[in-house]
Symmetry: C2
Amino acid sequence: MPDAFFRLEAVSGRARAGRLTTDHGVALTPLFMAVGTQGTVKGVTPDQLARAGITVVLGNTYHLMLRPGADTVQALGGLHAMTRWNGPMLTDSGGFQVFSLGELNQVSEEGCTFKNHLDGRDELLTPERSMQVQHKLGADVVMQLDDVPALPATRERTADTMRRSLRWLDRCVAALPARSAQGRRQHLFGIVQGGLDMDLRAESARELVARDLPGYAIGGLSVGETKEQMNTVLDVVTPLLPAEKPRYLMGVGFPEDMLAAIGMGIDMFDCVLPTRCARHSLVFTSRGRLRMKNAAHSADSAPLDPDCSCYTCANFSRGYLRHLIMAGEMLGMTLLTIHNLHFYAGLMAQARQAVLEDRYDGFARDMTARVTAKAP
Amino acid sequence: MPDAFFRLEAVSGRARAGRLTTDHGVALTPLFMAVGTQGTVKGVTPDQLARAGITVVLGNTYHLMLRPGADTVQALGGLHAMTRWNGPMLTDSGGFQVFSLGELNQVSEEGCTFKNHLDGRDELLTPERSMQVQHKLGADVVMQLDDVPALPATRERTADTMRRSLRWLDRCVAALPARSAQGRRQHLFGIVQGGLDMDLRAESARELVARDLPGYAIGGLSVGETKEQMNTVLDVVTPLLPAEKPRYLMGVGFPEDMLAAIGMGIDMFDCVLPTRCARHSLVFTSRGRLRMKNAAHSADSAPLDPDCSCYTCANFSRGYLRHLIMAGEMLGMTLLTIHNLHFYAGLMAQARQAVLEDRYDGFARDMTARVTAKAP
């Protein structure tokens, strides 16, 4: 019998340490997933990713279904074989990018009609199409298609879209084949919606839990609400979710936000921040953030972070990295990306260790102060 | 006593196999130097470079003296320490870029006045300044500043600039300190000039040889002349150069041109082709060239070159690489760069082996047919 998909190993307060077991290997939680939108985490090889400590990569269904197309990915062996990422992967539903990137025409009970951002063709994304595409991509975790209201939204609109998301979830469950096109297990996560209305959030969570899914995500956050509002949602939702299933907070975020969310029982994160910030020369360190375009770094022979053991910090000075950035050299973006991902992965590993040693709250307090400090 | 800088190990016809021994290690010839203009070979880490089989990296004095500046490079430990390329390096004089990139105002006996391409400041590049900058950068091989006529040039103009280049060489010899700023040996190469006038080329070569330099370069080629003209120059010049010194053909080139030049006694090459072509999705293989934007590759699960063992060919399909390129992903450029450099380094290693086994001419004939074939 294969290992359970998720195993809870320890708790510290509400913070959790666990283990995901997939057909592409194990990943320890809490974990941060690197975002590999178009079949690559921008600027780094899969080897560099793994050496940075990343264990799970997220692919974007919207981008991949448009280019190179799900059939091409399937012809190239699926997302794992094509990209040579041999560890666990997750794909989103495509819905979020339809709302944020495509020219959205209409959302009906059937699905979302949109013009794709590459060539303007009309496309229809339904729960069934999302599952079909994710089946061909072959990630280990697949996400339901959900309906998200444009903000600000009335309570009625928030309730309507939340309930439509539940109906779409049922269509996803019905449409997802037993195995990926590559013959591997795929675990479907539902997504808790309901905006900032706690009754709706609770209703969404209870309905999802009643469906006994492999995991639960919390969506619709990190879209402009305050940190207090986000924490209130987590405070309401996570106690409603079963302890023995993983919880994934979508699109979050900053180190301090992840530390807070782990403290409220979240296990999984994804965000473009470490990679996008790296490409804009913003660096996360154990002593705060660094803007690498700052002239103060120009002849500095120190590494980005004296406490870091990543390839970048083991080899290169701030002065050289700043030079690469100022000269517009790709290698600068690659090296900062490696560092930021290593920092995120290391933060998760330290959080896990703190849970295992039942000292999470103290750890999170200290670490939050450090990562939000103004770097010298 | 340290090993001689250059040791000739074998010949096959006029083709040569040798060994450069520097304070940063040994490099076997014939060899191809990867161009690292601004302190990085574009898009690849020093680890990736070494694994591609590259043994010597070239840095551009013009770019580095303007940004980050020779003093900054020195403060960061010199070019080797700053870039973490621990093998041999060569820097050019800066002159070629003054002619090709800067807004050249005037060449006088003193040096070249130009506006730098970054901020428009007036700059003066003299033989002494070139040596001072290269002393601070700290490469193992440094190049004399030479004067190159704008083309087409009269015989008189070609003769004047060639003879000025000899006078500048003498100033370079006088100006270069005994050791680099990092305390390492630096080997100064003179440059044979004289355009397409064989008498002037011969005069230039004889004058350089009379100065008993560590090595000799052949400059002013690959600037629009025919392959026959280039070969005629090599045919005249290389027999005038001492067997026990290395010969470097600057700025060449295509695989077939390097094969021909090795056959006429050249040991060293540099060229932006493998790296620049990679960034424009043109790939060199043992079966000809591939244009990776071609739609024929879109679902092709074969590697770029079935005979290649590089990281890219060992892991990734043509279909995936084409996707990365079409999607504008940096990783595509990085992976094609790794492949092209590996191909160039492998070509040199095979040429060396053919010399050691005294079968160079047959090897070069067969290989030239293969690399210039129209790829399927």
